[in-house]
């Protein structure tokens, strides 16, 4: 007797979303950076956060990852309230993130960068007596990680001496080393050459399906290739949320981007360069 397992019905009421934001507000001395943003991002989603500069995207990320406390509102990871938790605690719960500005450990080698990441969720990070080079599992995993993104030959190079694209790759590798369940990527393609953008896109595509990906990006092409749905922010508030197609056809979004390059209205067609200022 073969019992066929029923196709999993992921109704929002049944399983908690991978990441949820509930009426997040963040004010700074009179300036409202994030205004009443609510999001429910399901497991395995490929979600984008877009909007003009100053729209509050990175602030929202900081609220999600714990670098900032919200003025009000809640953040939940797989149903667990993480609003009061600091970044290192969220990392232990499976939330990873990359940064747009503060990048990798520049004066440390690629191997040292990866080693730090690999010990991050282990008690071994407080170990005092055993040299870190004598952790064969970690060393092997570091080599594997590096190799998987083509950085195998760069293990001994100081991170600051890598190319832009390689630094970006290392940044993602560091986050991946923690085996996150949800990954926040802050403008992974910013400043990259067209060739490097293709590499990053392939990298993003190669990430496991169970990993929930949330990405801030300006590059519409990259978004179209890597992301299924997105939310558009403007002045800290959510303007519209939906599939990429819905967003591109939304009037409010068009208005928003007018003056900067408008999102390409033709689905699947060659797009104009996104508002990558």
């Amino acid at each position: 007797m073969t019992a066929e397992p029923a196709a999993p019905q992921t109704k929002p009421a049944d399983t908690p979303p991978a990441l949820a934001a509930d009426h997040l507000w963040r004010r700074f001395r009179g300036v409202t950076a994030v205004a009443d943003v609510s999001l429910r991002i399901p497991l395995g989603a490929r979600f984008g956060i877009i909007g003009p500069n100053g729209a509050g995207k990175t602030t929202l990320f900081n609220l999600l990852s714990g670098e900032l406390r919200p003025s009000s509102g809640r953040v939940a990871l797989f149903g667990q309230d993480i609003t009061g938790l600091r970044p290192y605690r969220r990392a232990a719960l499976g939330l990873g993130r990359t940064f747009q500005i503060t990048r990798v450990f520049g004066d440390l080698t690629v191997l040292e960068n990866l080693t730090l990441a690999l010990h991050g969720l282990n008690r071994s990070k407080l170990s005092l007596l055993r040299p870190w080079r004598r952790y064969p599992d970690a060393m092997a995993e570091a080599a594997e990680l590096a190799a998987s993104f083509g950085l195998a030959g760069r293990l001994g190079t100081r991170a600051s001496e890598l190319s832009h694209g390689e630094i970006r790759e290392l940044e993602v590798l560091l986050a991946l080393a923690l085996k996150p369940r949800v990954l926040l990527l802050d403008e992974p393609a910013a400043g990259l050459s067209p060739a490097e953008r293709v590499d990053i896109l392939n990298l993003l595509r190669s990430l496991p399906a169970e990993l929930t990906l949330i990405m801030i990006e300006h590059d519409i092409d990259l978004l179209r290739g890597a992301v299924d749905s997105a939310a558009v922010l403007h002045l800290g508030a959510l303007v519209v949320e939906g599939t990429m197609r819905e967003i591109q056809q939304d009037d409010r979004v068009r208005e928003l981007y007018l003056g900067q390059a408008a999102p390409d209205p033709r689905p699947g067609g060659p797009g104009q360069e996104g508002a990558g200022t």
């Binding site: 290192y88 520049g106 040292e112 990070k125 005092l128 055993r130 040299p131 870190w132 293990l155 100081r158």
Partner: protein, 392 residues
């Protein structure tokens, strides 16, 4: 690792200077350089150890000098662990040295045996470190320097003003030293050898710590603390632990200090003393552990030679510090590393250019790679244990 002669790999028979065959001189130079990369560290270490032991056997000026230097070196190396690796430059290290020294002295003043005094002093230093660390670690970077400066001054103030306990400016003399059976620290030679032993153990422990995952985490903190936190590290805890370790060893140095000198006065904890330790670390080389030991020797040498040759040695020291900060922020050890890098580059060139193989694994205590300025502190350091750079 190849010994003698250029490797047989393709292209290696053509040296970097086209048109000239690889002469015997080139091969000889190559051998010498490659062997030096492996051997300089251990040889220098052994030589230094032998010299130290020999000097300490004596009874004259040199042995006193080295003894004093070793005591300060313990505190300086520990300060480097905190400052050179975690970026926590403390101007209170001499304060904790004083705490250790005064604890011994006050305990003995209250008729406790020397061993009990040592035990109490260790406990007091640890307690002070744990308690004050909670406050100190709430600040970073320049603010940390400021708060530790204030802390150091307050500790000095206690020593100076709490005359009931510390006898104020007069200080406290310590007459009885620990002894077990025939092992008696009252014997100057035994004391000197003990100081050397404690120094060696401290140095080796600290070097070990820097190579551990914890040590790496400190470098990560110095490099990009926010990023490290996002990787799951509770960075404030790491900084706190680094602080406790560093001030504990300062206290150990203080205990030795009061046995060696026989006396502790507030001057040992004055601002200038705290500054000296920082100078030792910077001159010797932030982030090298061994460098500050050399820095300690140099400063102590100047201090003791002051009356005879260079009366205005503090001016000289101040100017030297400024010069080092301006021109060679990596200090003495930074120069050593730079020489090592040049040697590596020369080896690569003599081997025939970029096709040469990777550099060998780090030799004992001396890597050819150099740490570069990083993070908001942006003061160059020289970290052991870094992989040698790969030539592209």
């Amino acid at each position: 690792m190849t010994a003698g002669g250029p490797p047989a790999s393709a292209g290696a028979t053509t040296p970097a200077r086209p048109g000239r065959p690889a002469g015997r001189l080139t091969r000889l130079t190559l051998v010498i350089l490659e062997q030096s990369r492996r051997l300089t560290g251990p040889v220098a270490g052994v030589a230094a150890a032998v010299v130290l032991v020999l000097i300490l056997q004596g009874n004259g000026f040199a042995s006193t000098l080295v003894e004093d230097a070793l005591v300060y070196a313990i505190a300086a190396m520990a300060l480097d662990f905190m400052a050179g690796y975690a970026g926590m430059v403390s101007l209170a290290q001499a304060g904790f040295l004083g705490v250790g020294a005064y604890a011994v002295a006050i305990a003995e003043n209250h008729f406790l045996s020397p061993w009990a005094a040592v035990g109490i002093a260790l406990a007091v230093v640890l307690g002070a470190g744990l308690a004050l660390g909670i406050v100190a670690v709430r600040t970073k970077g320049v603010s940390f320097v400021i708060i530790t400066l204030a802390l150091g001054q307050v500790l000095y103030g206690l020593a100076f003003q709490w005359t009931g306990l510390s006898e104020g400016d007069n200080g406290i003399t310590v007459a009885s030293l620990p002894a077990i059976g025939s092992f008696d620290l009252s014997n100057p030679l035994t004391l000197r050898m003990t100081v050397l032993a404690v120094f060696a153990v401290t140095a080796l422990l600290l070097v070990l710590f820097t190579r551990s995952p914890f040590g790496l985490s400190l470098r990560g903190i110095r490099s990009n603390e926010q990023r490290l936190a996002a990787l799951g590290y509770r960075t404030s805890l790491h900084r706190y632990l680094a602080w406790v370790i560093a001030v504990f060893f300062a206290g150990v140095a203080g205990i030795l200090y009061v046995f060696v000198q026989g006396l502790i006065t507030p001057t040992t904890m004055a601002f200038s003393a705290n500054g000296f330790l920082v100078v030792m670390v910077v001159l010797g080389g932030l982030g090298s552990i061994w460098g500050p030991a050399i820095g300690a020797l140099v400063i102590v040498l100047f201090q003791q030679e002051a009356s005879t040759y260079v009366t205005r040695w503090q001016t000289l020291m101040g100017l030297t510090l400024i010069a080092v900060v301006l021109f060679s922020p990596g200090g003495f050890w930074g120069l050593v590393r730079a020489a090592g890098r040049r040697r590596d580059a020369l080896i690569t060139r003599l081997r025939g250019g970029p096709a040469g193989e990777n550099g060998p694994a780090t030799t004992a205590g001396q890597a050819s790679g150099a740490g570069q300025a990083g993070g908001p502190l942006a003061l160059e350091t020289a970290h052991p244990g870094t992989e040698p750079r790969q030539t592209p």
